[in-house]
Every structure is written in C-alpha cells, then in structure tokens.
Symmetry: C2
Subunit: 93 residues, 2 copies
Amino acid sequence: MAQEDNAVLVGNKPAMSYVLAVVTQFNEKGNKEVVIKARGKAISRAVDVAEIVRNRFIPDVKVKDISIATDTLKSENGQEVNVSSITIVLAKE
Amino acid sequence: MAQEDNAVLVGNKPAMSYVLAVVTQFNEKGNKEVVIKARGKAISRAVDVAEIVRNRFIPDVKVKDISIATDTLKSENGQEVNVSSITIVLAKE
C-alpha cells in the first residue's frame, strides 16, 4: 500500500482525524478523487470515515469503487501474517 | 438489513464461524451468490471472512459487489445512533 498523494491511510486515531484529512484533500488541494485505505481492525473505521465525509461534509462525494485484498506482512520474528485490507475510492462529481 | 436466505450476518464470533456458514451456503445449499453483511466493528471481520473464503476455501469465488451505508438505529434510551454497514456479495463463477 504505497501512500499516494491523494491517499489517506486510516489507522488507530479517532475517525474524525481522517475525515478532516479527506475533506482537506477535496476542498483545499482540489482533488477530484481521494483514496481511503486501511488494514485489519482499522477497516471498520475507514468505512466510518467514508460515510461521515459523504453524509456530513461533502454531499456530492460518491463512492466510486471499493476493493478488498489480503496483504502478507512479515512480523518481527520473521513469520508471515495475512491481514485483510480495504481501498475505498471517493470521487467528487 | 433483512436476513435473506443466502445472507450471512457477521457479528462478534470468531471469523471462522462465518467462513463455515458462507462455505456451507455455496457448497451444500448450492447457492451461486452469498451476501455477507456487517455493522460497526464487525465490518473488519466481514472483510476477513470474504478474503478467507476466497483464498483458502473456494478459489473460484469472486467479489461481485461491495457497498457501504449508514444505518440509523434506535438505542435503548430512544436516541438515534448512526452506524456504518457493509454488504459484500460473493459469487461463484
């Protein structure tokens, strides 16, 4: 999951931090698309972020695409761990 | 979220319980499509379930559609609470 210029990687902070990041990408940076990404337990929060942006901040933003995948990470002791990920593409009309 | 015949509602049990339910829908009941639904924190688990079914159990199952929404629930004290939900449609080719 490379961090592109218009991507917001959702982690363990409160959802509102990421909502603000997405709204900034749309409104201040003028992006037409913003990509929200998350792994593991943060996936639920990524969905919250997309829904809050759409419903409360920028009503003309639509969900353009959602995809899920499995990323294989290497843990500190060298073991491979599979973790689910989600990519949500929001687009302004 | 009405519980249809081919729907699996993911909650707080371990992911494998729901994986088994999905695999049963495909293999024993002969469904061509299974709908995985979840709300709130269970959304991450729903993605895990879809990925585990695809990667470890039924390789010819594809993700046909993913949608997200906001459901408004009424809490016990009568307050309305918004909660995100996800619907993942898996289809056998």
